[in-house]
């Protein structure tokens, strides 16, 4: 009897250990499992529905969906301003500001909390949350998550000199539209980009597309063009991918025309100057009108009225002196490295000041 009890105890202990090791998979939304996702880098962040945060991991060549459980709706966002946010983040991570890089920022549209991705000198990624001016760490262990590997479109026919499959592109931006995660990637080798559309919840079969996107400058020269940042928006009742390129043209693609493997030509509606790389793009409301807002590396935030984009029905076909196409204005915010919309009328951004401070600040239409 004692022997039986002993073996039963051993069996129970073994089962308990197995249960402790395996992630709990039952009844979690979106096909998620509880566990600790392997995240090698955080290149891009975007929110889906219900507080689901998508993390673009360039080094891991994957997208990870995390259930933040941050779903308490906040109808009135509070303006958040933190002077020296780089110093404050660095101190919280036990280092100095020159040893960290803020890699992306996204606002949870439900709670209006600000999620900031940071990496240390050695590349270790960390996810932080700013809520009411307080910075806390968001633990990426023991969370409900699912992930999908970004298959390299060239891997089947190309390997490098050491026989390894080519790595996936660097993730340059992500968005969520109509139940799909949109991921733009830049290659570190050839001059090209991919735009993948991945249904969520992630499936067993990866339904992704790789689009070769072209634009024509003034109707004469045509080039493939790597997308740097994008958003989605409605123009004349139709949904568009609004993309900005590494060479700054603003180009529209009807979302219903983006199909896997397609060679798609976009409609260039604006050229936004030189020596500049677009960083982030979003849509806000101001005085009852809708505006596309774009942050840039080398100039102030640009603002384009959707009404003007809709009115510019052609493509840039003639040489125009200066900046060409749909008119835009520059908002009084330069040296912005990260930007998202806090709510429909407020922008939140990380901006380097003339005195060297790097601040998190909120702007609304009364500021400009």
């Amino acid at each position: 009897m004692k022997k039986n009890l002993f073996f039963s105890a051993i069996l129970l202990a073994a089962l308990a250990m197995i249960a402790a090791k395996k992630p709990v998979t039952m009844s979690l939304p979106y096909g998620m499992a509880k566990g600790s996702p392997e995240i090698k880098s955080i290149s891009a962040l975007t929110f889906g529905k219900d507080g689901i945060l998508f993390i673009g991991d360039s080094r891991g060549a994957s997208v990870i969906a995390i259930d933040t459980k941050d779903v308490k709706k906040n109808d009135k966002a509070t303006a958040t301003d933190i002077t020296g946010i780089d110093v404050k983040i660095a101190t919280s991570l036990g280092t100095q500001k020159e040893n960290i890089t803020i890699t992306d920022m996204a606002v949870n549209p439900l709670s209006k909390k600000v999620y900031i991705a940071v990496q240390g000198t050695d590349g270790t990624p960390v996810l932080l949350v700013v809520d009411n001016g307080n910075i806390t760490n968001f633990p990426l262990k023991d969370v409900n998550y699912s992930s999908i590997a970004l298959n390299d479109v060239y891997a089947e026919d190309a390997k490098d000199a050491r026989g390894r499959p080519m790595r996936a592109s660097t993730i340059s931006d992500m968005g969520f539209y109509d139940g799909k995660v949109l991921v733009s990637g830049l290659s570190n080798k050839e001059f090209s980009s991919t735009l993948r559309s991945i249904p969520f919840p992630f499936g067993n079969v990866q339904d992704e597309s790789s689009l070769e996107i072209y634009h024509a400058s003034h109707g004469r020269y045509e080039t493939t063009s790597p997308i740097r940042t994008f958003t989605t928006g409605k123009i004349n009742g139709k949904d568009y991918l609004i993309a900005s390129y590494t060479c700054t043209p603003l180009v529209l693609f009807p979302l219903d025309e983006l199909k896997p493997g397609m060679h798609v030509k976009g409609r260039t509606v604006s050229e936004m100057g030189s020596g500049n790389t677009p960083i982030d793009m979003t849509t806000i409301q101001k005085n009852g009108e809708t505006f596309l807002v774009m942050a840039n590396t080398a100039r102030a935030i640009s603002e384009v009225n959707y009404k003007n984009i809709a009115a510019f029905e052609g493509t840039l076909t003639e040489r125009v002196a200066g900046k060409a196409g749909t008119p835009y204005v520059e908002l009084p915010y330069s040296n912005v490295s990260q930007m998202d919309k806090l709510d429909n009328t407020h922008l939140i951004m990380i901006q380097k000041q003339a005195n060297g401070d790097v601040n998190l600040l909120t702007a609304n239409d009364t500021n400009y």
Binding site: M17, A20, K21, S36, S43, S58, R59, K88, T91, S92, L93, G94, T95, Q96, E98, N99, I100, T101, Q119, G120, T121, G123, V126, T136, N137, D142, D157, A158, A161, M166, R167, T170, S172, L186, S187, N188, K189, E190, F191, A216, S217, H218, G219, R220, Y221, E222, T223, T246, C247, T248, H263, E271, G273, G275, T277, I279, A298, R319, K323, S337
Partner: protein, 376 residues
């Protein structure tokens, strides 16, 4: 019992197998001296990284296990006194190990607090200059490059800190003018997976004909001018130690290259049967160093890959395939991926920019093929 506490959540979790795995470094820590020999605080290293700190449990003897994450705090000595470092506490009867979410920084000093009282301090030794990164090479290698050069690769001896290229890469014209708005300030930067090779693009808006930046400013490079690419010292490696010396590469700009490479024009040097002779190719122009490594393949006429390795010459204009086995007589095919580019971004399918008023849409194929025969 060993317990794990996250400082941000302050929830206690029972030990699990994964935690045991994490604790392996407890058993084989690399302990080395710190300035708190009397307190028994030790730094735990993982390779070159100061991954965690071990604090004797008796320094917090009066603190209940459940309260360790809130009462015991590690702070940056030069930081704000109210800010505790985010991280994870693991403790047993003898010690408390604090693992920050990013490793401790070489050269910085930290304090351990139990409540409001400083219980000890420790300093992470500054890195050894012998471990400093260096620039191994810049590609393209040739000293004459087309004025519409599209990209430059910089290969480092070890992984580097990201998002610093704009401060450390400079282009100087004719030994006197430091050029601005030449490189694309791309965030995120384009690194390889080990963060040892960085791709830097010259501003494509200035290279693409007819775009406003091109019309207003012209190419970043101009034919017949001399340029110096400078990678400045001070750029930190992932180990926290900075590049000690500047690196320079000098070159002259030649005329614009607006044509796609044509594999049909390449000279092939066919090896002899029953030898391991190299299969050599003269590409007739320098091509992209890293794409070359990935774009070429030799297969038999049955489409079976021939085992071997590719070697790219320093001039990026010649390359050779060295077979693992001796060549057998037969028909072979050199398969070339169409995305192979020259130095101006012209690939095998299409030039970098195409005048659509003068040329037809080129065919798009995944590969190009050159047949060759190895005879008896």
């Amino acid at each position: 019992m060993t317990r794990i506490i996250n400082t941000n959540t302050v929830t206690i979790k029972n030990i699990r197998l994964r935690a045991v795995r994490n604790l392996i470094f407890f058993l084989i820590p690399v302990l080395f001296s710190c300035n708190s020999r009397e307190t028994g605080i030790h730094i735990i290293k993982d390779g070159q990284r100061a991954k965690a700190v071990s604090i004797p449990r008796n320094l917090a003897a009066d603190i209940a296990d459940d309260s360790i994450g809130t009462v015991v705090q590690v702070k940056l000595k030069s930081g704000h006194p109210s800010v505790a470092i985010f991280g994870k506490y693991i403790h047993n009867n003898d010690s408390i190990v604090f693992e920050p979410y990013i490793p401790f920084t070489p050269g910085l000093e930290y304090e351990v607090f139990v409540g409001n009282k400083q219980a000890g301090s420790f300093k992470i030794p500054a890195g050894n200059i012998a471990d400093a990164p260096t620039v191994l090479a810049v590609y393209p290698s040739p000293d004459t490059l087309p004025e519409n050069l599209l990209k430059v690769y910089i290969r480092f001896s070890q992984p580097m800190q990201e998002a610093r290229s704009a401060q450390h890469i400079v282009l100087i014209k004719n030994n006197k003018d430091t050029l601005t708005n030449v490189f694309l300030d791309l965030q995120p930067e384009l690194w390889n997976d080990t963060r040892t090779v960085l791709t830097v693009w010259l501003d494509p808006g200035r290279i693409k004909r007819d775009l406003q930046p091109n019309l207003r400013l012209g190419n970043p490079l101009q034919e017949k001018n001399k340029y110096t690419l400078l990678v400045t010292n001070g750029w930190k490696g992932a180990n926290g130690i900075s590049l000690q010396k500047d690196f320079t590469k000098q070159f002259v700009a030649s005329k614009r290259d607006s044509l796609s490479p044509v594999p049909h024009n390449w000279d092939l040097e066919i090896p002899k049967t029953n030898t391991k002779d190299e299969f050599k190719i003269d590409l007739k122009e320098p091509l992209d160093h890293f794409l070359l490594e990935e774009s070429l393949q030799v297969v038999t006429d049955k489409n079976i890959p021939v085992k071997g390795k590719w070697v790219i010459d320093k001039d990026d204009r010649h390359c050779a395939f060295i077979p693992t086995e001796t060549w057998s007589a037969g028909n072979y095919i050199l398969v070339i991926a169409s995305r192979l580019e020259d130095l101006a971004g012209n690939n095998l399918n299409r030039p970098f920019d195409r005048d659509i008023t003068k040329t037809k849409t080129p065919p798009v194929t995944a590969t190009y093929r050159r047949n060759f025969v190895i005879g008896d």
